[in-house]
Symmetry: C2
Amino acid sequence: MSASPRAGAPDKRRMILQAAVRVFARQGFHTCRVSDIADEAGVAYGLVYHYFASKDKVLDTLFLERWHVMLELIREVDGQELPVREKLAAIASFIVESYRHDPDLMKVIIVEVTRAANSFGDKHIDTIREAYDLIGGMIAKAQADGVFKADVEPRFAAMAFYGAIEQLLTGWIFELLPQTEDYFERAKWLVVETICGGLEAHAMTAAGAAGGGA
Amino acid sequence: MSASPRAGAPDKRRMILQAAVRVFARQGFHTCRVSDIADEAGVAYGLVYHYFASKDKVLDTLFLERWHVMLELIREVDGQELPVREKLAAIASFIVESYRHDPDLMKVIIVEVTRAANSFGDKHIDTIREAYDLIGGMIAKAQADGVFKADVEPRFAAMAFYGAIEQLLTGWIFELLPQTEDYFERAKWLVVETICGGLEAHAMTAAGAAGGGA
DNA sequence: ACGCCCTGACTGACCAGTCAATCTAGTCCG
DNA sequence: CGGACTAGATTGACTGGTCAGTCAGGGCGT
């Protein structure tokens, strides 16, 4: 694309991306103008279009960059010989740390992409799905090994696991949950402990979940 | 508001709301035009503004109507003398049934409101929060009764529970999960079983969740 | 005749994307 | 060294299209 010729020279492309994160997080993708991004980055309007073909492409770039890092981590963890609980803990930890490191970016990714069923979520659905599938695979393997009980669809369990984490981030994003070092750590632990605890194959409650009126 | 004078006379206001659900679900709130709603409803453009002050108000109405029904159910369940597991099962069941009954409406509510941190989510945050708080209260009570272990923040557990359900709906919305009668039933069971299983105070694994570098 | 429901053409504002012009730095030659 | 040339970086005024919301008027029941 374009390496800045000399150190110290500001990489305008990067500056635009970072400004976009702040603007998208503050105003939302649909509500902000391209000029807001340019202003925030301190560059001319047209420069945004020098580096990105469209407003959409800016968000695409932000999402894909980050998501690929996550996929890489998941694959790496998946390749190792570890108990599921630790694999899932590594994933939960990565996501929470991502938020702690750059809350705005994670907010944008979750709000504007991961959960945007009509726009970017749909466009990137295959990329998003990859993560779900990998997690589902881990759970399936744990079931095969007898570590998890076999009576839940791995795909469903994977969604529940990922959904629980994402909702914690949502709680932070909406400022419904406290955001202290301590709570970040406890959140990681909670999700893994709860989901794994629920999936593990300890003395099965014979209570056939007969329940449920409509 | 306006009761249609005679039976058989179509309630145009209702028709507009229902059309809006279909249009919002199909195209998304930001991408659709008010004329799309009017066309879908088979009414004139201006009539939308006769019944609703703005495009926003249409979505507000859809969300509030449904969310209040849910809050009512949660409160009713909460008032009864039931084991947590059954209370949570009733909530999970209600949400899944809501989706089964009107997938488009639930899609709109989740995608455009519940998770829209910059627009409607923010506007309705207090209403949304009420649900989380009620669920959190149930969990806190279960902890006080010794049914759930006491070492997780009720608020965090409530978010994890709700997030797991919403992510299952998201899976259906994105068509990542199968949508058959059977799967709907299993989904309800899975969420409750997993989360409750994880939160219950059975023989605590002494494995102090020491883990996780980051 | 009054008060509604209902209509749809119109307006005013807004904004993504274009483009012609200017700037900057590197390179090559005399 | 200086001037000519090139290519990419940078600028911001402008265009074309879109769309939320308005409004003046028409229809119909009572």
